[in-house]
């Protein structure tokens, strides 16, 4: 479905993508993970034909991207993180406008509209102005617009940012249905739990290179490390930040979660003493990269080399 070979993208002197390789199979939901500035958005923009590149080869549906951009775009959808819709138009008007600019009409329009509306549960709000919708409803409309051409390949850029848990679940349920429809999804998100729940494959991108890719379970099994995740009962971020300053390799994830890279008994002993001194109770200690977040933090912290 997607084949990227030796892709390099430069913005002046800055290398956004550095000889990047990626393959995503048909019908796969692939999570694209990476720290800010790693090159995720640039990669998705290139795959959409919204940005050019200096060297490399990109093929989608077996077609070279540059020469077949129009045809590829007809079969793909890009769902941006921002709500790319018109607040002053109703839900129905937004859907008809974006269908119209893609020259979708007649029975195809009716079929695709029905699909986009039902999958995103927009039936009851079709007459409402977009400006009056809740954050979750707007997100669903944003996705529905992307489905109007019944795409085979969909790029999602952080589709659940800033919405309530219920709406997030609805959106994730919607995306899961794409697997049944054999659609391919490239999904970028900062929420590791979403990627874990949703994606078959994961590609971790750092400094413009894919540093790990493959099936999630295999990746987690394969990655052995000396890192440790500490679950805390309660604490404050300021306390933890102070402790992190005194402990090399310690990352504060949340006020109840710490990540310690390259642990050893001495470092671990010191950390536990510091926590005890601050009267912070440790609830649970997990050794090894047992979840995606830990794996991601370890790989991006150590500057792991690409696969």
């Amino acid at each position: 479905m997607i084949s990227v070979k030796n892709l390099t993208k430069l913005y002046g002197d800055i290398t956004a993508l550095d000889h990047l390789d990626l393959k995503v199979g048909s019908g796969t939901i692939c999570g694209l993970l990476g720290p800010n500035g790693a090159g995720k958005t640039t990669l998705v923009s290139i795959l959409n034909g919204l940005a050019g590149f200096q060297t490399g080869a990109v093929e989608i549906f077996g077609l070279p991207l540059t020469a077949n951009l129009k045809e590829i775009r007809r079969r793909t959808a890009f769902i941006p993180q921002s709500l790319a819709l018109y607040d002053n138009l109703s839900v129905r008007e937004n859907l008809h406008f974006f269908a119209g600019i893609q020259n979708i009409s007649g029975s195809t329009l009716r079929r695709n509209l029905d699909y986009a509306i039902s999958v995103n549960r927009l039936d009851e709000i079709l007459g409402q102005r977009a400006a009056t919708l809740s954050g979750g409803q707007k997100r669903r409309l944003n996705i529905a617009i992307g489905l109007l051409n019944n795409p085979q390949l969909i790029y999602f850029d952080e589709p659940t940012v800033g919405i309530d848990p219920e709406s997030r679940h609805q959106i994730l349920d919607t995306i899961r249905t794409f697997r049944d429809d054999t659609k391919t999804v490239i999904y970028t998100s900062h929420y590791m739990s979403e990627i874990e729940k949703l994606c078959d494959e994961v590609a971790i991108i750092d400094r413009g290179r894919i540093i790990r890719r493959g099936h999630l379970k295999t990746l987690l099994q394969d990655e052995q490390s000396d890192s440790v995740v500490l679950e805390l009962l309660s604490s404050s971020l300021s306390q933890l930040d102070e402790i992190a300053r005194k402990t090399s390799g310690l990352k504060v994830i949340t006020s109840t979660r710490l990540f310690l890279l390259d642990q050893n008994s001495l470092k671990m002993g010191r950390l536990l003493s510091l926590l005890e001194a601050e009267k912070i109770i440790v609830k649970h200690i997990r050794y090894g990269s047992t979840d995606l977040e830990a794996l991601f933090l370890r790989l991006t912290s150590t500057g792991a080399t690409d696969v």
């Binding site: 913005y11 958005t41 129009k70 890009f78 921002s82 018109y86 600019i101």
Partner: protein, 405 residues
Amino acid sequence: MFKVMLIKEFKLVWRDKHALAALFIMPAIFILIMSIALKDTFNSDRSLVNYAVVDLDKTGQSLELMSFLESDKGLHCYSMVLANPAERRRALREELDFVVEIPAGFTERLLRADAERPLVSLIIYAAADIKREMLKLFKSRLAGGVLRLRLTDMKLTLSPLLPESDLDKAAAKFAGLEFDAAEIARVRFNDLAVGQKPTSTQQSVPSWIVFGMFFVIIPLSTIFINEQRQNTLLRMSSMNVSTPLLFAGKIVPYMLINQIQVWLMIAVGMFVVPLFGADALTLGKSLGGLFMVSFGLSLSAVGTAILIAVSVKTVEQATTIGGIINILLGAVGGIMVPKFFMPEVMQRLAEISPMSWGLDGFLDIFLRGLGPESVMEESFKLIVLGVFLLLVAGVVFNRKMRLNV
């Protein structure tokens, strides 16, 4: 607390270069333009009025009248031969405000007119777009010159009749002569039928139509920037919408909006203005010419708006810069200050303002009643400018889209 609020506000303004431009640079430029444009209006050494004389009388008195006018520093006499009406009409459209024709026998009749031999009036041919105040000023100067001729003649006539006791007898000599100032000079407006006068409505409505049309800059650029900010344009690009198609989707509706504006403002001039006691606007003879000028103006305005929209980042910047450009184009282009009030340098500068081209075109249609051929040049310049601005905007937009993703 108040102190820190003040400091915060000053810092925010100081760091916002567009706010600074709106607050300081725009008024400074505006003052500069208006001061230069009006600098000679109150300067008595400067010639405000350009005129030429066609002397068919060729008497000592007509020469004396001419030299009286020439002695006025506010008037500038052009020595040009205007052998026929076509040359006169051309000169009045281009460099002259007035042409004074002294008919044969004017001074003789002025001095010796009676019931059998009525006065022969001077003829003032005035430019169609001349302001009433200017015409009044010129007429009064001319009447002053004529009065001077008469007084000189009276003095010559009365001198032999002195002593004083014979003054009644002398005065009787002039009793039969009615001196009607309106009869001294009859005014004919260039390009208008005899007896037809340009009204303030005909003179001012075109200016405000031009100014109003350029206000599309603000809504167009605001909506465009919002679309850019929300990535709607990016989404459209990903849906195979090309830049020319995207621009066409802006150009066509806003040009239609401009046409609605034009006809709405014309309707106000025709039907609403008379309700307040002013003269109604008349359309002129050429709907084709009106369409040509308004089409060109519209394309220029939309081109300016799209170029601003693709060049700035925020709605605030667009409204500030759009507003500034609108006002400056209006000030330079003769919308706020008539061009003939401006010094030569500013008049030349006005020639590069699209508002000035549009205004000239509309004045030809509304005021002078001319046809499409007379507005070809202005319409062409406006269309070329519009296309050029759109091309530049296209280049900037494509570049920005490539860099922003």
